[in-house]
Amino acid sequence: MKDVLHLMSMYTKTTAKAWFQYRVDAVLKSLAVFLREATGIIVIWFTLMKFDNINGWNIYEMVFLFSLLFLTYGIMIIFFTGLRDFGNTVRSGSFDRFILRPRGLLFQIIFVNSDWFAALGHGGLGITLFLISAWKVGINWSLTNALYYIFTIAGGVLIQGAVFLTLATLNIFMLQTNSLKELLYWNMRKFAGYPISIFNKAIQIFMIYVMPFAFVNYFPAQFLLRKSDMSYSEIYMYLTPIVGTVMYLAAYLFWRFGIRFYKSSGN
């Protein structure tokens, strides 16, 4: 155990050192990610100044909804950069090197690399949005609510991690899943910025049962904000940590199954 912790700290140190090799670039890159994502929010901000609310959600409540999305992604990408880039790792043959080291494969993929630019850009935006909205949407930050919030964030991280792990596993079979990720993850994420009640039923079902972004932000926000557009059973508000855990375990089993089919990409 001590050995594993030491290795984890060594990996982190190595990533950080590489990061500091290009200090200015690092800061600019993080800022670029931050601004790119913030632009979308600013557009909504100005739209709402005209319309007042979207399906009963005012601007601060919308910002709170967004903050969950960015915060969970920011945390997730610290751990799952390796899975995001797994396609490249396989194609370049670097995965062979992981196999040659006496450590768990998933452990190595997770800890060898962290995209701190994305983490700071997304996470920083998430924190900013949270600070803007958290005390303006009428949430009583009691101990129960705070605990609920922490578990929900963890669940949201696991849900998105499970999606990345599943897509990474598909890489073993198809060698390229970027377009699938674009289609399933990034496109659906654009919907997830809004309360799902504004969409038609098909999209809602998709966002709950197929690519369950609704559990990352909509249902948790409902628990804390209690808006009147909620048309699903209250149970959904409590499921995020469970959905996250189950999805992650399923994705992990799929990974274990898929890894047996790994074919080295050759020289």
Partner: protein, 329 residues
């Protein structure tokens, strides 16, 4: 029981066959066509502890696939592999801690960081004890003359320096077996010599078992006594390097410079070519023609200015083996 046992191992890849043109590409998308490619066909060999074995063969012969199966990256489709009591692809974690692999074409060092940082990380990955690490690092750094650049970022190193650092990286955990996959590729003559000398030393002094793939026959000549040749997935030679010379290297060339213009009678089993300046070249097989008889006849009957015998170099022999194989098929 040998240290490394490979018995009737085969490996087949499924490769998708691409059809040409836009329609072909569309057809590929809907009905992908797969072909089976046999990369390795029924190969067997044993290697003893402490041996250094060279693996050669033309591109695509199956060398890399064999090395990847031996190191546990790939599963064989059939046959058995056992190394030091382990089945590489089944007992991965326990096994890979005992081997070292150098891919000449793929560095395992951190590109942006000083060499020493990669070494420290590897120490943690392999849980190398402090004293072993320090001892290995000091010794290898000195043997490969690396103290001048160990603190420099990898991206600033020359290819030769990078390769030396990569070799040390694969050895810090004192592996019992080391796989070298083209460890001298792209390195200049001096650098190659340093690397070969180091590898030889490691094999002789530490008794490390080694498997060495390369296209540069000189690498093999300088480091390995035994040679395995693979072509089109099959093992076509396995034995001592010197025996190969005896088996295939029977051609001899005798170049004689005569002091005057001469007319020679025909010699049996000898081809004679005329070169400029009254020089003639005699080519023959040394198992068909007695070299001393031939020379006696020439030296006894004519005035000779200069004489020179040559045997084919190992490259020529290997070339002959490859092409012979193709001619049979």
């Amino acid at each position: 029981m040998s240290f490394i046992e490979v018995k009737n191992v085969s490996k087949t890849f499924k490769v998708s066959r691409r059809r040409a043109g836009a329609i072909g590409a569309a057809a590929n998308f809907f009905v992908p066509k797969f072909e089976k490619k046999e990369a390795v066909k029924n190969i067997s060999f044993n290697i003893e502890k402490g041996e250094a074995v060279g693996f050669i063969g033309p591109n695509g012969a199956g060398k890399s696939t064999t090395v990847k199966m031996l190191s546990g990256i790939l599963h064989p489709n059939s046959g058995e592999i056992k190394v030091g009591g382990y089945i590489p692809y089944k007992q991965r974690k326990a096994y890979v801690g005992k081997i070292g692999v150098v891919f000449g074409q793929k560095s395992q060092l951190q590109w942006d960081l000083p060499v020493i940082d990669s070494f420290e990380l590897l120490k943690a990955i392999y849980s190398v004890p402090d004293d072993v690490y320090r001892k290995n690092l000091e010794r290898f750094t000195e043997m490969l003359d690396m103290s001048g650049f160990i603190g420099q970022p990898v991206r600033q190193l020359s290819l030769g320096q990078r390769m030396r650092a990569d070799i040390v990286a694969a050895l810090l955990h004192s592996p019992e077996i080391v796989f070298f996959d083209e460890p001298t590729i792209g390195v200049d003559v001096v650098g190659k010599e340093t690397i070969r000398a180091f590898i030889r030393e490691l094999n002789r002094q530490d008794g490390v078992t080694m498997i060495f793939t390369t296209h540069d026959m000189r690498d093999i000549e300088k480091t390995c006594r035994r040679l395995i040749i693979i072509n089109e997935g099959e093992k076509i030679y396995d034995g001592a390097l010197s025996a190969l010379r005896e088996m295939y290297g029977t051609t001899r060339r005798l170049e004689v410079a005569f002091s005057e213009k001469v007319d020679l009678p025909g010699f049996e089993n000898v081809t004679v070519e005329n070169l400029e300046n009254n020089k003639k070249r005699f080519t023959f097989e040394n198992n068909k023609v007695q070299i001393n008889e031939l020379m006696n006849r020439i030296l006894g009957e004519y005035n000779v200015r200069d004489i020179n015998i040559s045997e084919p170099d190992i490259e020529t022999i290997i070339q002959k083996i490859y092409t012979k194989k193709e001619a049979e098929i």
